[in-house]
Amino acid sequence: MTLLQVDGASKRFGNLVAIHDVSLTIEPGELRAIIGPNGAGKTTFFNLVSGLFAPTSGSIRFEGRDISALAPDERVRRGMARTFQITEIFPDLSVADNIRVAVEIAAGYRLRPWLAGKARRAVAERVAELLSLSGLADKAHVRAGALSHGDQRAAEIMMSLALKPRLLMLDEPTAGMGDQETYDIARLIRRLHRREGLTIMLIEHDMRVVFNLADRIMVLAEGKVLAEGPPQEIAESEKVQGAYLGKAAA
């Protein structure tokens, strides 16, 4: 079954049409990149899909069900998780506690005033597992706010991963990072996709990352879909080169 199906979604802010008639389908196991010049509406599109605001028109279906009117936390409970361009973590909690909160919520414990020893051990094991997957195990007890930018981003991805999402949305995961950090994050994303079979939709500016990772690419420009297809096709498209890659190179 198609995992995510967006049909003719538009978003208007007053007179500004931020997203105009965008359609997209994502199949399970896919890694989809969304690229486009600044102000193309990529993050707005993410916000529509994740529920930060509702589309002005069009529909969003997740696993066949219309979710256009659902609150963000309800969409999360149906299997969507996302990260943000500006990392959103719990700065005053330790890295381990950041992930623990996510693990407990994912396990359905968020209203529990008490956890039995067995459940507590299961949570601790899952936290340890995610910490080692992220490479943050040696920083487990560091305040998350004191981590480097790249480590904060890795922690945020791990929190989203703790939810065992069926769709993981990453908004510019390598933004503002050096080469080494970019490489580490790209490797993490590749591992999540290839090894864990996770379906991922990501917005990215770093073309090396995009063309290395993506199965398919959607190009947005001025709120509209400019092109859509496998990386090879996008790289060769004159339309894309003219509107985007050319501009970026200039």
């Binding site: 999360v76 998780a81 959103e88 719990f90 005033p113």
Partner: protein
């Protein structure tokens, strides 16, 4: 962690013997009881303020409802001490459930403003409804009653030390319950909301529902403090509901340190002791507390306990 446990134990010992050492430093048992009761109120407020990140300036409303509920149960219904406290708490908690549902979508200063507004509604009811509440003069003509356990009798009316330990026992139950809650997955979801509401929402936490629960729990415990306060004074008046008392709770929490569990208790102790000492010299005791407050916030933004902690580390 180990130092945290040692600190918990120290607080317990200090509280357990407070009526005995209070006299040595110029205090008296009733002052000790007031510290415990106000400490409970400030810690209850801090459940919402310090551990959920939501500021209420209307907690006196639920403190006062607890006070009036308990006082009226004794005066009009001849209720025993425990049922009277129970009635005050039930009335206040129901009010908190209804008002909480109305305001839980608001944030920041809007939330604080509306909590004041709702609080003042209760104040004016108590102020105006002379026949039932005693109006401005307060509710008199009743006093707390000895508790009969069947096998034993605790005379909390005549014996002020007995009442201190009665209040301390209830304080311990409430504070213990809050500590368990804050160390649970539910408590961590509240701290998550304080730390980053957007991240909490995008982990799947229905924020409004959790903030509502935190508000109601916080109001429930503050109403216990209110009921104890009425019993302590054998009296209650509309000032127990007024927004300046809500402000005092906030001052106690911030003064002691709202990020720490015990901070508000220490803030309450400083506040109550200063109030007691300074008000015997001048009517303008609030200006002294205000000065202390400004100095603490200016130099130790994490409160007195935050200052002690960082001092211990250095």
């Amino acid at each position: 962690m180990r130092r945290g446990r040692a600190f918990d134990a120290a607080v317990c010992v200090i509280l357990l013997f407070m009526p005995f050492w209070m006299g040595a430093i110029g205090g008296y048992t009733e002052l000790a009881t007031r510290i415990v009761v106000m400490g409970l109120a400030a810690m209850s407020l801090n459940f919402l303020l310090g551990f959920t990140g939501v500021l209420s300036f209307g907690h006196a409303a639920y403190f006062g409802l607890g006070a009036y509920g308990a006082a009226m149960a004794i005066k009009y219904l001849d209720a025993g001490t425990i049922p009277a406290i129970g009635l005050g708490v039930v009335v206040a908690t129901i009010a908190a459930m209804v008002i909480g549902a109305l305001i839980v979508r608001l944030r920041g200063v809007y939330f604080a403003m509306v909590t004041i507004a709702f609080g003042q509604v209760f104040y004016f009811i108590a102020f105006r409804w002379n026949a039932v509440t005693g109006g401005d003069d307060g509710l008199t003509g009743w006093h707390r009653l000895p508790i009969d356990f069947g096998f034993a009798r605790l005379d909390i009316f005549q014996n002020d030390k007995a009442f201190y330990y009665f209040a301390l026992a209830i304080f311990a139950i409430c504070v213990g319950a809050m500590a368990v809650l804050l160390n649970s997955p539910f408590g961590r979801s509240l701290i998550a909301i304080r730390e980053n509401e957007r991240r909490a929402r995008f982990l799947g936490v229905p924020i409004e529902w959790h903030v509502w629960l935190s508000f109601v729990i916080s109001c429930l415990f503050v109403s216990v403090a209110g009921a104890l306060y009425a019993l302590l004074n054998n009296f209650t008046d509309p000032r127990a509901l007024r927004f300046d008392l809500s402000g005092n709770f906030v001052i106690m929490a911030v003064l002691g340190g709202m990020r720490s569990f015990w901070g508000p208790l220490i803030g309450a102790a400083i506040f109550v002791a200063l109030q007691d000492y300074v008000s015997s010299h001048t009517e303008n005791w609030m200006s002294v507390i205000g000065l202390v407050f400004v100095l603490v916030v200016r130099f130790f933004p994490r409160g007195v306990l935050g200052m002690l902690r960082s001092g211990a580390k250095a």
